[in-house]
Every structure is written in C-alpha cells, then in structure tokens.
C-alpha cells in the first residue's frame, strides 16, 4: 500500500516537473469561449480594421473589455489576433498558422487575415487565400471599387483574392499656421502651387528653413511618392532585385535635404517622428496617405483627444496633392482557405467594403478615402468638410487622382526591401558611411532575409 502510494507520488512529482518545464513553451493554449457558437479568427497587425469593425459592422453585439474579442448577435465570437508588422513578425506568425491550417481544430483555424500591399502578392499568389468569386455575393458587390485595389490582390490568372474598404491616394498634409506665416496663405490651392513639383518643393523647403522651420520631419517621409512611381517592381523573377532610378533620386534628394537642414532627421514611426506632428513641432508638412489622417496624424496632433485648436494641432492641418500622384498601400481583407465560417467572412467583406451606408460613415467619421467611386463622388459634392483638416473637403481634392492610382510595382518582397533600404540609407544621411557602403550594407541585409535573391542591380 505504502509503496504503491510512494510510486504514484513520485511519478506525479516527476510529471509535474516535466509539465513545469514544458508549460512555458505552450504559448497561450485554450480558448476562453466555449459558451455559444463558433469562433471567427481574424489576423491583423494593428487595430485599424478592428475599430472600424466594432464601430460599424451591424451584427456587433458587444466588445470584450480588453478588446481582444467581439461578440456578434448570433453568438459568434470574433477573436482578434494582432501581431506587429515590423521585421516580418506578422508574416512569420501568420505563415506558421497558415501552414498548420489543415490540421488545426475548427475553432483555431485562420478564417480571415489582413494584408498590406507590400506583401499582398505573397499571399494572393498562394493557395492560402480564397478566390472571392467563391464567396457568395462578394465579387458582384465590388463593381464600384477602384480598379487598383483589386489589381494588387489578383493572382496570375486574374482571380481577385481580397477586398479593401479604402483606397489610399497620397497627399501632402501641412500645418496651416506655418503656411500662413511663411507662405502668406493657408489656402490649399496656393500651397499646392508652392509644392507643385520637386523643384518648387525644394524652394519652399529653403523658405521654411530661413524662417526657422523644417520642411519635413525625416528621411523616409518622401520615400513612398518616389517608390510608388517606380517603373518596375523590385523583384520580378524571384532572383534579381532591381533598384529603380526613382529610389536613387529619393536617396539623392534626401541626402541633399539633410545636408541643407530641410528635415529634422527622424525615421518613420520613431518617437520624434510622431512628436513632429504635434502642436509644438517646427515641421511644415508630411507626405501622407488618406489612412494616415485618422490613424496617425490625428493621434499625434491631438494626443489627448481634446479636439481643441488652442491645446492641440486639431484643425491646423490641411492637405494638398503635392508634387506627384502616389498611393501608399492600404489594407485588404482576405478569406483564408479552409475557413469554417465562409458565409460570415463573405458577409463581413461585403458589408465592410461595399455597403454605401457603412462606407459613408467610415469616410465622414474616420476620414478614410473609402473604396467606392459613387460614395466618393457623392462626398466630393456634398461633404461639409473634415474638422481635423480645418473644414476642408479632401474628397473633392483627391477624387480625380484616385482614378489613376496603381500598385503595379508591388512585389511580394517589398516590406523587407523597403525596411532594409530605409535603414541602410539612414547611415548615409547621418553621415556615418558613404553611399557605396550604404548600398553594400543594403545588399548584405537583403541576402540575409531573402536567401533566394541572388543579385542586386543598381541603376547606372
């Protein structure tokens, strides 16, 4: 008796020890739900879509206090899996989940995931995303969307694999107060004159400098306008990376601006970059995209949410088109192959990206340039203006430009390439290295992260 007890006890202890050693590797484990209904897993890298979904999707019943789940009217629990984008983190975690998709339990399967233009093609060229023609009603509903938003998520055979609620024309957002002081006016048409091409942009930058201001916050702000107008994608055959001449123009211009003191030497998303959009900043303008108005600018200009022009930069911003037409990404919803909730995914896609009423609300309340030609047309004519932009109707300004947007140059490798390009060139702008070393460092980084890329070609 006693001996048996001892054996059991020691086994239990041994088991407990093993469990203790392995438990930390488990990573989370069980689902909190279990009460009613199914689980819908949505993967994304920030809360942009989540807030829009919680605010505007008609079936939302309640949102969990910590925001990690949303319960729908039919009892379905929407589970938000949010992984930061930087350094490929989101893609790596998502890849892991997608590769295990077949063997995962129904409630653990990825049902829907969001992608950015910089790597959309990686997923839309794979079998991991569903053709939206196979989802009831979605494709028909997208007829009013901007063409480029479908083009970038189409596979080689022309099947559309994702949908977006936004189109993302680029713009120049500038501070009205600084424009008045230096340029004598804050009228968007007059400011547009002052930044109509890169030569005038540089002239204005000099004026800003003379008046004690910076034209731009940092190095990477002007990257997207150049990159988006590249002649060809970075990588076309999966082996060679061709750097476009446009990119080198960006490098030369940024180095020149840095040496002349036109920018405040910040890097994209850094603390000082964010601070440069606030009330006390000396920075005149930021090339931005429509999604940045709500997602980035508003929060940085008015961190306390006062909406009070006296205490923040609320109402002190306005936008103009700037030197070139360009766009910066956007966010696409894709249905994961193997989802057990295809009908619900289809409904979310249809409602969130094509329903005119919802899109109208997103536009007027969040400032997104929504992905519907008719809604934008209506807003361009009838919208009374965005408070944050001092009452400006930016839809009227950008509706023409949006028709001509293109993301033909997107390749599956762009996120890594762009991050490494900006990081390598930062050393050059900072004066730590010369241009050739910066280029060599870029090549080294690329070969580390994309072993399949064999050669990097620079423009003559």
């Amino acid at each position: 008796m006693k001996k048996g007890f001892k054996a059991v006890l020691s086994l239990a202890l041994a088991g407990a020890m093993i469990f203790g050693m392995t438990a930390c590797g488990g990573g989370g484990g069980e689902e909190a739900s279990g009460e009613a209904g199914k689980v819908l897993n949505i993967w994304c890298w920030n809360d942009e879509f989540q807030t829009r979904f919680n605010d505007y999707y008609p079936e939302v019943k309640e949102v969990a206090e910590d925001g990690s789940t949303t319960t729908l009217n039919d009892g379905t629990v929407v589970n938000w899996i949010i992984e930061p984008n930087e350094g490929n983190n989101y893609q790596n975690k998502l890849d892991e989940a997608l590769l295990n998709q077949e063997s995962a339990a129904a409630d653990d399967k990825v049902d829907m995931f969001l992608v950015e233009a910089d790597y959309a093609r990686k997923y839309t060229n794979s079998d991991s995303t569903m053709n939206i023609a196979d989802l009831p009603g979605v494709l028909d509903a997208t007829s009013d969307q901007y063409e480029y938003t479908k083009e970038v998520v189409s596979d080689a055979d022309g099947n559309v694999k994702g949908v977006s609620w936004q189109a993302c024309p680029g713009l120049i957002a500038y501070r009205r107060s600084i424009a008045k002081e230096v340029l004598g006016t804050d009228d968007p048409a007059a400011v547009q004159e002052a930044v109509a091409d890169w030569d005038k942009f540089a002239e204005t930058a000099q004026k800003m400098k003379d008046a004690g201001y910076f034209m731009l916050s940092g190095y990477d702000d002007t990257f997207r306008p150049f990159y988006n107008n590249d002649a060809a994608p970075f990588v076309e055959d999966g082996k060679t990376l061709n750097v476009d001449k446009n990119i080198m123009d960006w490098v030369a211009m940024t180095k020149d601006y840095t040496d002349k003191g036109y920018n405040n030497k910040t890097s994209l998303w850094s603390d000082d970059w964010n601070a440069d959009q606030g009330k006390d900043s000396k920075v005149f303008c930021i090339p931005a995209c429509t999604w940045e108005i709500d997602f980035t600018l508003t929060g940085n200009a008015d961190p306390d949410g006062t909406k009070d022009p006296a205490q923040s930069a609320w109402g002190d911003y306005a936008v103009c088109v700037g030197p070139v037409n360009w766009c910066w990404g956007g966010t696409w919803l894709t249905a994961a192959t193997g989802t057990d909730n295809a009908d619900l995914v289809a409904d979310i896609m249809t409602k969130m990206t094509t329903d005119p009423e919802i899109l109208n609300k997103i536009a007027t309340e969040k400032g997104d340039f929504v992905n519907s030609k008719s809604v934008i047309k209506d807003l361009a004519a009838n919208y009374e203006g965005n408070d944050f932009l001092g009452g400006q109707n930016h839809y009227a300004l950008l509706s023409d430009a949006a028709e001509g947007l293109s993301l033909k140059i997107a390749s599956p490798y762009d996120q890594g390439i762009i991050e490494k390009m900006q990081a390598a060139m930062k050393d050059y702008y900072d004066g730590t290295v010369d241009l050739d070393t910066a280029k060599a460092n870029f090549e080294k980084s690329i070969k580390e992260i994309y072993p399949e890329i064999e050669t990097v070609n620079w423009p003559k």
Binding site: M17, I18, G25, N92, D95, K265, A423, V433
Partner: protein
C-alpha cells in the same frame, strides 16, 4: 515439497528511485536540448529556408553554408561582439574588484554594506530587454538625457546617440556593465571572504601596504573565481543579443557596427533559413569552446594537476552569463 520453501527475500534496490527522479531532467534535456542541438548541426549542411509560403529544401549542399558564412562579414560581427563585450567587461571587472576589496576590508568598516550590495545587484533583476527599452527612451534624440544636457548648456543641440558608432556601442557597454557588475562584485566578495584571515594578518604584520596586500595576496588567492567570472562573462558576451537587438531595433546600426554574432544569426531566421543559421551556430559553438579552453588552461595551469581540487572545477553556468 508440498509447501514452498520460505519466501525469497526480495532484494531491495533503491537505485531505480534515483533513476526515476533524475529521469525528468534527462527526458527534458534530450527532447529540448540534445535533439535540437543535433538538428542544428545536421541542418547546417542543408539548403533549407522559406520563400514566401513555400518551404525550400532541405537539400544537402555540403559545406556551402560555411563557405558563404566565411565570405560574409562574419569576422566583422565577431569583432563587434568582442569589442562590445570588452568595453563592458573591463570596467566591470575593475569596479567589481575595487568594490569587493573595499567591502571585505575589515579595517575600512563600511556602513550599510548590505544596502549597497542590494543596490548594486538591482540592475541585474531587470529584464535585459526592458532595460534596453528604457535606455532607448532615455537616450533617444528628444529623450530626457538630451533634454537635460541641452538645458544645462553642456550641449548646443541634442547628441544623436543611436546614430553614432561610439554612442551606440558605448550605451550597449554601459548597460552590460550596469547589469553585471553587481553580480560579479558579489562573486568576488565571496571569493575574498574565503581567504583565510590569517594571511591578511600575516601580510599586515610583515608591513604590507594595502596595495601590496591586494596585488600579492588577494588577487592570486581569488584566481579560480576570476577565471570562472571571465569564462562565464566571455560566453555571455559572445552570445550577446537582447540588449543591442532592442536598443537598435534589430538593425545593428549604424553601419552594422553593433551587429553581434547572435543578431546575425537572428537575421537568418527572418526567412527561417535553418541552413545558414545552423552554420552560424556551429561556428559560434566552436569559437566559444576554443576560447574557453584557452582561458582555462592559461590562467589556471596548476588546477588540473591537483587531484583534490578537481571536484571544485568550475563549469560555466548558462544562467549566470553575460557581460
């Protein structure tokens, strides 16, 4: 023969309990350490990575990964690692020796020893990544350190620490120093206190100055512990990762001068390149082993001759690593 002869006395073996109790460790060790270790070596001879959602390989490629490794800037990263380690370790060992000598000196009678011991050990309790985040915020271009320096009139405009080679390396070294000098001080104090007081008394009677006592008595007597500190710190230094990784946001910038060997390894995991990452690990392992043996046999020549001492040989412990 109707009755069986008396029941056999069962032999009681306690050994099985011993095996049972150490089994969990060995099972965990084999599953979580030995197998991955063998796999690392094995895959270092393969082309094996992920391109998008497609897994490439594993295809055997012989020594190609090693060739590529030695054609890369591997030596530069090794140099970075050694510089970062030494820049932290040299001040660390000097300060630790000094503090250990002061705290153990019976004639100095420092008050609040316990308090100071706790305080100098404190930085070691913070997670390295949290510590690096803290420094990242403190020394950012518009952070409090720059704000203070400018408002005191010491600088005209903020110094961009993380854009300068010396600034970034200096911060990494400073952090490693702060995190580990307390730990080293306590180890060295234990070593000094293990020296027989009669030696110090004899030295004093013979008219040794404190400096002579330190260099002629204390230092030679604590040499085994010094070797231990050096080896553990060296292994930890070669594996330096979290502090520079977080401080430079994974970039190892400027000009890759803060890229350590493990950060280089980590870059290969971006595309799950197990082949190259395996090769880096194997080379790193060999370097570590060689350096440890060199240090061990050079600084401790008599140790191995003395049989009695053999049991006390120090094995570098993984947890106690770093700077």
């Amino acid at each position: 023969m109707a009755r069986k002869n008396k029941p056999e006395v069962k032999e009681i073996s306690y050994a099985k309990w011993g095996y049972l109790f150490i089994a969990p460790f060995f099972i965990a060790f084999v599953v979580f350490q030995l197998v991955p270790l063998a796999q690392t070596v094995y895959y270092s001879f393969f082309e094996y990575y992920r391109s998008g959602l497609t897994v490439i390989g594993p295809t055997p490629v012989g020594l190609d990964n090693y060739k590529e490794l030695f054609n890369s800037d591997f030596l530069k990263y090794f140099g970075n690692t050694v510089i970062l380690w030494l820049a932290g370790f040299i001040p660390q060992i000097v300060v630790s020796l000094l503090l250990a000598a002061w705290f153990t000196d019976v004639r100095l009678k420092i008050k609040g020893k316990q308090f100071f011991k706790v305080v100098i050990y404190m930085p070691n309790l913070i997670m390295a990544s949290a510590f690096a985040m803290l420094f990242f915020a403190l020394f950012s271009n518009n952070g409090p350190v720059n704000a203070t320096l400018v408002s005191l009139g010491i600088l005209d405009h903020p110094f961009r620490f993380l854009s300068s080679v010396a600034g970034t390396r200096g911060l990494v070294a400073l952090m490693n120093f702060l995190m580990w000098f307390g730990n080293t001080t306590i180890l060295l104090m234990a070593a000094v206190m293990g020296i027989s007081p009669s030696l110090f008394e004899a030295a004093e009677l013979d008219g040794c100055s404190p400096r002579q006592t330190f260099f002629r008595v204390t230092l030679p007597m604590i040499r085994p512990i010094l070797v231990y500190v050096l080896i553990t710190s060296m292994i930890g230094g070669l594996q330096m990762f979290d502090v520079p990784q977080i401080l430079t946001n994974g970039k190892g910038s400027p000009d890759r001068t803060v890229t350590t060997l493990i950060m280089y390894l980590n870059n290969h995991l971006f595309s799950k390149n197990y082949g190259m990452a395996g090769a880096v690990s194997v080379v790193l392992f060999v370097i570590c082993a060689i350096l440890c043996l060199l240090v061990y046999f050079n600084l401790n020549p008599t140790e191995n001759d003395r049989k009695i001492k053999k049991r006390d040989r120090f094995k570098p412990r993984k947890e106690a690593l770093n700077g």
